[in-house]
Structure formats: structure tokens, C-alpha cells
């Protein structure tokens, strides 16, 4: 699936929820599906520090595609990280750099992307694109 196809599918999933609680329960559930960063990479080099919750993110290239593993110490953040990884992982560096993440607004999670939310999510999206950019430059 392309990045946009995955986004559309997630928007479809979220459209079934009638209240915030269901939505957050789903996000928490998604956190459990996150491909976890290996213990050897779960260190300061790969940390994205928000003000309150920590996110660890590690990129890898296999067959010309970028794959991410990650983790967070807060489970809602972990669910949000999982969403991003679901959308961006397994695509080429160029696709990741060029991706327009419109689904975040559509599923009503844009509040989590504001720089003041201090959950590191905005920095994480930036970091995922930066990794992709670096990998793209390396060729």
C-alpha cells in the first residue's frame, strides 16, 4: 500500500468511533502493535525528548526501503508513534520525505502535533523525515 492508501484506511478506521474514549482506547491498542526498538538501540542516541514523555526511534534500510522501530514510556504517546510508524515505515526515503500527513488532521489528532503538547510527536515526525532525507542523500 502507498502512504496515502494507509492514511485513507486509518481515516476509515477512526470514522467508526463515536467518542474520544473509543478513539483513545484504539490508540492505546495500536501502541501494542508497534514494532519495538531493540534494547541495544534504546539509548540516548536514538531518543527524541519531548518535555514529558520519551520516544526512542531507530531507522533501518532494507531493499531500498526505510523501516522504523520505536518505543515510548507513555502509552498514549506510544500509540501515536505506532500510527506514524504504520504510515511511514516500509517506504522509500523519497516517499517519506515527500509524504503529506493529512490523516492526522482528519482523525482529529492534530492537537497532539502542536509544539506545545510536549509529547515529542512533532519532533518525531520531523526526525523520521530527517532520517529519510539523510538516507536519501547517502543514495
Amino acid at each position: 500500500m502507498t502512504i496515502n492508501e494507509i492514511q485513507d484506511e486509518l481515516m476509515d478506521d477512526f470514522s467508526f468511533f463515536t467518542d474520544w474514549m473509543e478513539k483513545y482506547e484504539y490508540i492505546i491498542q495500536l501502541g501494542k502493535e508497534l514494532p519495538l526498538i531493540s534494547e541495544e538501540h534504546k539509548k540516548d542516541d536514538y531518543i527524541i525528548k519531548g518535555c514529558q514523555s520519551k520516544v526512542w526511534l531507530f531507522p533501518e534500510v532494507k531493499d531500498g526501503k526505510v523501516y522504523f522501530t520505536a518505543d515510548s514510556d507513555a502509552i498514549i504517546t506510544k500509540g501515536l508513534v505506532s500510527l506514524m510508524v504504520k504510515v511511514l515505515s516500509g517506504h522509500t526515503a523519497k516517499e517519506i520525505v515527500d509524504a503529506d500527513l493529512y490523516f492526522i488532521n482528519q482523525i482529529g489528532l492534530n492537537e497532539h502535533l502542536s509544539p506545545t503538547r510536549a509529547n515529542g510527536l512533532l519532533s518525531m515526525v520531523k526526525q523520521m523525515k530527517l532520517y529519510a532525507l539523510a538516507l536519501q542523500a547517502r543514495g
Partner: protein, 412 residues
């Protein structure tokens, strides 16, 4: 001992004075429990702001014209009402600043400039807000001085014996908080000031979390410097106070240079204005300065003694009720506490709990509360903090408890 009792405190009337409390957040009635960060404003404060801009707006301490005179008069009314509020001896001992942080920086910088040299020592405590740590670290770095830290026990109480032992010939100033913003501990500051004075060491008291809860009498405390903010006492943001004993303030140089703080300027030499203007360079936050008086009047009309009794009852109720939440662990269990409850819930991250409470219309603070050394002391990344004000109710405490149970169900 005589039982303290509430006489004329009508919580419904108090709540009606704060318009924001009527609003909803995320479709739920707002439960505002982040008063340690900032308090809400009464209609009288809001009206004063509108009145200022509609009727008075003009620069202070400068013009001969009518508006400048009435705004200057109003600004000086605030100075006198603050003087009375903390029982300062002279009105010129009240310096209007932008807030607690500004006030502490003035003393750290200006006192430090003339009184601190290489090898000297400054005493602070283990429970300080970053704004009562970093300014002192900066002067220490500048002068080659040392920071000495009063330790605390597992309940979040300062070790007074250890404090006594910190003093040496090299100690030049002590600076500590009256009430801890992250733990709620009320420190025995009168005794601590007395001890410092035995060693001829002046004291700066950070009263940011005390001024709205505890009656402060600077002459009775015999404190040398006192700092607090307007916005934590139901007043506007961007305004605060530095109190200093007349002699202590006269003995240190000005902070910033500019208008208002000068007596005479030539290119060869400038002579400085007298107190309080020596420390008030530039145009102040006039609107906030004038309207802070409305907040002081509001507190005075109810009476800090009444407020303290009401808030203590609320704090006790909240502590009892929160204890019933599964897996709760209180951080800060001092015998004397004010208005702040910090806690963790087993198996949850404070951030997650904060997000869920927000969805329920409940505002709390999560994180390290600008007191990272306190979090390190307890070996935790942060806490959830509920902090109370005079308009909070037992029903709101119940809403918090229900919200936390819901969060536990979702997160654990």
C-alpha cells in the same frame, strides 16, 4: 486550641465571581486544578483591565497631562496596597517587577555583583523551582562561588539540622521557597530566617506559591527580600513584586539601566533614582500593575485567614479521597502542606493520565513542574499535580477522583 471555622465564606458566591469557571472543556464542565501554574481572574480584575484601557491608558511617572497623572496614581495605589498586604514598613520597599523570576534575578544579579566573590557560598534548598536555582547558578559561575543545598527527607520536608550545618564564614545569602510548587510543603521559614540571621546572612524568600494561601508579614518574618507573582494571586500575568528591606535595597546597584531609574544623565556620569524607581527601568506593565490592586482587594475582601481555612479543609478532603484511587502514590507528604497534591499512579505515565483527564474537562499539571532536582530526589520522571485555589470545591475533587479511576481503567 481554638478550632478555626469558616464564617462568611460562600463558595457559590466566590465561584460566580470567576466567569471562566462557567465554561465547558471537551463538552464537560471545566474543573480547573492547575492553580499552582496560574490562577483564574475574578470579574473585578477583568473589569479593571477593560476600565484601564477604556479610561486611563497613559504612561506612568512621566507626563504632566491628566491621563498620565491618573494612571500614575493608580499604579502607586497598587504599590501601597501591596505594602499593606505584606505589612512592609515603607512603600518604596515594594519594587514592581514582571514576576517572581524577575524579582529573584534582580537580587541574584545585583546582590551578587557587590557581595559575592570567588569561594563564597549561597544556600538554596532541594525543593526549589528552577527560577530559584538557575539565577544563583549563574552568579556562582560568574564569580566562582558555590551553591549549597539544604537536603530534604522522604516526606518532602527540609532537614533543618543539615541547614544549620551549611552555614560558614563564606555564606553570603540564603534563598528558599516558602511553599514548594511541586510538593506543597510549607517550610518553617520564620525559624529558617532567624537561623540565617544568627550567621548575619540575609534571606530571599520565594513566595510565589505562598502569597495566595498564607498570610505574609515581612516585618514579623524579618525577611530581607521577598518575591512573588501577580498571576498566581488572581491578578494579571506579567506583573510581580520584589520586596526588600530599605537598607538592603539601597546597598545594591540597579538591575537594568533606562528610563525611570535615573536621577540625572550626562555622558560622563548618571546618578540613579531613589527607591523604588532605581529598580524599575523602562515602562512597566502598567495595565497589570494597576489591575493587580483589584486582585489584592478581592483577596482582602474575603480574607486570607478564611481562604486558608477553606483551602486546608479542601486539601484534607482531596488527600483522603485520592487515597482511594487504586495504585496511587503521593509525592510530598509533609506534615505542613498547602494547596498542592503531587502523585503518581502505578503502571501509568503522568502524561497519559493528564491527556485522559483533559478529555474529561479536568485541568491538572503533569511533568517535572520546573523542579527537576525534586523529581531526581524521588527517582521519578514527573508527577501529576492537582493544585487548589479558593474557588475549588469538594465536587471538583470528586470529579478528579472519578476521572482518575477512569484513567486507571483505560491505562492499566
Amino acid at each position: 486550641m481554638e478550632q478555626k471555622q469558616l464564617k462568611d465564606f460562600d463558595i457559590n458566591k466566590v465561584r460566580a465571581d470567576f466567569p471562566i469557571l462557567k465554561r465547558e472543556v471537551n463538552g464537560k464542565p471545566l474543573v480547573y486544578l492547575d492553580n499552582g501554574a496560574t490562577t483564574q481572574k475574578s470579574q473585578s480584575v477583568i473589569d479593571a483591565i477593560t476600565h484601564y484601557y477604556s479610561e486611563m491608558n497613559s504612561n506612568v511617572h512621566r507626563g504632566v497631562h491628566y491621563l498620565s497623572q491618573i494612571s500614575t496614581d493608580a499604579f502607586e495605589v497598587t504599590r501601597r496596597s501591596i505594602q499593606a498586604f505584606i505589612n512592609a514598613k515603607h512603600e518604596h520597599e515594594i519594587i514592581i517587577t514582571t514576576g517572581t523570576t524577575h524579582s529573584i534575578n534582580i537580587i541574584a544579579t545585583c546582590f551578587g555583583k557587590v557581595n559575592i566573590a570567588a569561594g563564597d557560598e549561597i544556600i538554596i534548598s532541594a525543593m526549589e523551582h528552577h527560577s530559584n536555582i538557575v539565577p544563583w547558578q549563574m552568579i556562582c559561575e560568574d564569580k566562582g562561588a558555590l551553591l549549597k543545598v539544604i537536603p530534604m527527607n522522604d516526606k518532602g520536608e527540609l532537614d533543618i539540622e543539615a541547614y544549620k550545618a551549611l552555614f560558614s564564614e563564606k555564606t553570603k545569602i540564603a534563598s528558599f521557597t516558602y511553599v514548594s510548587n511541586s510538593l506543597g510543603t510549607i517550610n518553617p521559614v520564620k525559624e529558617m530566617i532567624r537561623i540565617a540571621h544568627e550567621h548575619h546572612v540575609p534571606v530571599l524568600l520565594d513566595a510565589a506559591q505562598a502569597i495566595q494561601h498564607v498570610k505574609i508579614d515581612v516585618q514579623d518574618l524579618d525577611v530581607d527580600f521577598l518575591a512573588f507573582s501577580g498571576h498566581k494571586m488572581y491578578g494579571p500575568t506579567g506583573i510581580g513584586v520584589l520586596y526588600g528591606k530599605e537598607d538592603a535595597l539601597n546597598a545594591i546597584p540597579p538591575y537594568q539601566g533606562g528610563g525611570d531609574m535615573i536621577k540625572e544623565v550626562t555622558f560622563e556620569k548618571t546618578t540613579y533614582n531613589e527607591l523604588p524607581f532605581k529598580f524599575e527601568a523602562g515602562t512597566p506593565n502598567i495595565e497589570a500593575g494597576i489591575c493587580l490592586n483589584a486582585a489584592v482587594e478581592y483577596i482582602n475582601a474575603i480574607g486570607l485567614e478564611q481562604i486558608a481555612v477553606y483551602e486546608e479543609e479542601l486539601l484534607n478532603y482531596a488527600t483522603e479521597q485520592l487515597a482511594t484511587v487504586p495504585g496511587i502514590r503521593f509525592i510530598g507528604t509533609a506534615a505542613h502542606k498547602s494547596s498542592v497534591i503531587s502523585f503518581l499512579i502505578d503502571g501509568t505515565h503522568p502524561y497519559d493520565v493528564g491527556v485522559i483527564l483533559d478529555k474529561l474537562g479536568i485541568a491538572v499539571r503533569t511533568g517535572h513542574h520546573c523542579a527537576q532536582p525534586v523529581m531526581d530526589r524521588f527517582g521519578i520522571p514527573g508527577t501529576i499535580r492537582a493544585s487548589f485555589a479558593l474557588y475549588n470545591t469538594k465536587e471538583e475533587v470528586d470529579a478528579l477522583v472519578t476521572g482518575l479511576r477512569r484513567a486507571v481503567n483505560m491505562l492499566v
